[in-house]
Symmetry: C2
Subunit: 342 residues, 2 copies
C-alpha cells in the first residue's frame, strides 16, 4: 500500500506557481527566478515534506544516473574491495550503484544484465563470467557504455581493467627463490572456462620457470575445481619430489591449501613456503602471517569508473584498451623458512 505521495503539482498549488517553476527550482535554475518565488516554493516543499519522484525524472531525462555492477563471484575479497572503490567513486560523481552477484553462473549473469538494462542503467561495470560473449558483443557493438574488470572478453569494443597477472606470478616465484625454495608448485581454480586471469597466471608460471631457469614440471601445476582442490594438493605432496613452496592463485585456493596444511600438520614456512595472490583480511593475523601479492584494488576500481564516465562525456568511442595494473608483494612470514611458526 504505497502512501499517497505529494507530487510536484501539490507543491505548485501550495506555492501558487506552475509546475514548471517548481521544476526550475528543483533543478536549481535560479537565474530568472524572483527571490520571493524561490522562497515560496522552498517553504511549500518543506511544509508538504515533498520528495521528488526520481522514477518520473528518469523517464523524462532518459537517464537514471545509475550504474550496474555485475560481479562474477563476490566471495573473492578482491571483488569486494574493488566494488567498494567503485561505489565510492561513483557516489562522488552523483551516480547510484546497483551490485549484482552472478555467483559464477552465466545464466544468472544474463538475467541480471537484462534486468539492469530494463531498469535503464546508464552503464555497466562487469567482472564477467565466461558464458555471455554474444550478449556482451551486442552491447558493445550498440555502443552501450561498458567496462570490464579483472577479466576481459576478447574482440570487444570495450575497455578493461586488469592485473598484470604474469608479473604477479613472477614476483611470487622470485621471492620464493630468494628465500631458498626451489621446487615451486602453483594452484589455480579450473581452467575449463578459460577465465583470463587463471590462464594468465598459469602462463606466468611457465614463463617464470623459464626466466629463472627452473625445470618446468607439469605435475606442479594444479588447476581444478575448488571442490576437488584438496585432492590435487594431496597428489602434490605424494609426489616423489614434493614441492617446497606453493603459489596460491587466489584467496579461495588459499583457503583450500590452508585447510589441507592444517589437517596434515604441515608447518607453513618451515615445511612449505607459501605466497598467495590477493591480500586477505586475515593475512597478518594468520599464524604464520601470510606473504601476499596484493592487487591495487582501489586504483583499479577508480580507473573502471573513470573509463566509464569518460564514455558519457566524449561522443567518439576511442579504441578499447586493456589497462594493466602492477601487483605488489607484501612480505610476511609464510615465505620464510626459519622460525615462522610460533
Amino acid at each position: 500500500m504505497p502512501i499517497k505521495k505529494t507530487t510536484i503539482s501539490d507543491v505548485a498549488k501550495h506555492a501558487q506557481v506552475s509546475k514548471s517553476t517548481v521544476s526550475q527550482f528543483l533543478n536549481e535554475r535560479f537565474e530568472y527566478m524572483r527571490e520571493e518565488t524561490r522562497e515560496r516554493i522552498e517553504k511549500a516543499i518543506k511544509e508538504l515534506n515533498y520528495q521528488p519522484n526520481n522514477v518520473a525524472r528518469s523517464l523524462k531525462l532518459k537517464s537514471t544516473a545509475t550504474i550496474g555492477v555485475i560481479v562474477a563471484n563476490i566471495l573473492h575479497s578482491f571483488s569486494t574491495q574493488v566494488i567498494r572503490a567503485i561505489e565510492d567513486k561513483l557516489n562522488e560523481n552523483d551516480f547510484s550503484t546497483i551490485i549484482c552477484n552472478a555467483d559464477d553462473d552465466p545464466a544468472k549473469e544474463k538475467k541480471y544484465i537484462e534486468t539492469l538494462l530494463a531498469r535503464q542503467v546508464d552503464g555497466l561495470i562487469v567482472f564477467p563470467t565466461s558464458g555471455n560473449q554474444e550478449l556482451y558483443k551486442r552491447l558493445a557493438d550498440s555502443n552501450f557504455p561498458i567496462v570490464f574488470v579483472d577479466r576481459y572478453v576478447s574482440d570487444l569494443n570495450a575497455d578493461a581493467v586488469m592485473l598484470d597477472n604474469e608479473k604477479a606470478i613472477h614476483l611470487a616465484v622470485e621471492h620464493l627463490l630468494t628465500n631458498g625454495y626451489e621446487d615451486i608448485a602453483v594452484l589455480t581454480t579450473s581452467l575449463e572456462n578459460a577465465v583470463v586471469p587463471r590462464l594468465e597466471r598459469i602462463q606466468g608460471y611457465r614463463s617464470a620457470m623459464e626466466r629463472f631457469e627452473l625445470p618446468l614440471r607439469e605435475d606442479y601445476i594444479k588447476s581444478m575445481d575448488l571442490s576437488v582442490m584438496k585432492d590435487g594438493i594431496a597428489e602434490l605432496f605424494q609426489l616423489e619430489k614434493p614441492p617446497q613452496a606453493i603459489v596460491s592463485g587466489n584467496d579461495l585456493t588459499l583457503m583450500e591449501f590452508l585447510k589441507y596444511a592444517s589437517e596434515h600438520n604441515m608447518k607453513i614456512g618451515t615445511d612449505v613456503g607459501l605466497v598467495t595472490i590477493d591480500e586477505v583480511p586475515y593475512a597478518s593475523i594468520h599464524n604464520p602471517p601470510l606473504t601476499t601479492i596484493a592487487q591495487p584494488t582501489f586504483e583499479m576500481g577508480e580507473k573502471a569508473v573513470e573509463l566509464l564516465l569518460h564514455k558519457f562525456d566524449s561522443k567518439k568511442s576511442n579504441d578499447p584498451k586493456i589497462y594493466r595494473f602492477a601487483p605488489s608483494i607484501i612480505v610476511r612470514k609464510s615465505s620464510e623458512k626459519a622460525g615462522a611458526q610460533l
Copy 2:
C-alpha cells in the same frame, strides 16, 4: 549517449496492433488474445530485439519491485551473510535489491534513505546506525514498509529480526567455564551510541556472571572504539589478575584481539581461551581453529524478507514484533587448554 531504444510503439507498429495489445502481451494477459496476434507480437519483439522500459512501467504502476537494504557496516561478515540471504529470497519473489553501506555514518545513512525513497523503493530492510531515529519514526508512522535487522529502533511501528544476544554470551561463558577457564573478560566496540546488540551483549555478560556465580569485575569489561581496542586489551593483561579467557563481541573485535595475541606471542587456548561471537570465514583454518558463536544468518535474512513481503499483502499493520533468533556454538580449539597450538 543513450542508444535510441525501441519502444512499445515500435513493436505495435511492426506487429500492426495497438500499444494496448502489446502491453497485454507483455503482461501475459493472453485470455482474450487471438493466437495469431500473440505470435505476431512475439515475432515483432524478437525482430526488434525489444526490451521493455522498466522505468516507465514503474512510474505507471507506482511500484518498482525493488527493496532497499541499508547496512550500518558491511565489513561485518555477519552483515554480508545476512544480505546474501535477503537478496536470494527477494530474487525468488521477483524483487530487485539495492544495497547501501552506511559505513557507520548516520549522515551517509540518511542520504541513502532519501535516495532510495526518491527512487521509489517499495520497502526497506535496514541494519540501522544510531543516528536517524526521527527519520525512521516518520517512515514507520507513515506506514512505509520497513524491517530492521540486528538492531532495532525503540518505540517504532516496525518489525525487527535480532539475535538472542544474552543467550549468545551465556553460551560462550558456559562453554569456557566447562573447559576450565574461570576469569573471563569481554570485548565489544564502543557503547557510546547505544547500539543495541552491544548493550545486550554486555548485559548478557553481567547476567552470565550472576547465573554462573562468578564475581563481576568491571575491569574485565572492555567496550571501546576499535582504534584503541588494543590498548584496552593490553590493560586487561596488565591487571594483577589477568583474565584466563576472552569473549570477543564480534568479528572486528576478534581481529584486534588476534593481532594483539600474535604480537605478544600469546598462545590462544593454552595461554588464553577465546570464544568469539560471529562465525568468520577463516575460523577453521586459523591456528588454532576458533570457537565461535554463530548467528543463523540465513534464517534471519529470510525472516526479514518474509516480514517485509507480508506487509505488502496485508493491509492491516499488525503489532510490531521483535523476532529473536537463537545462536549456536561451534566448538573448535581456541577454547581448549591442552594442545591447541601446533
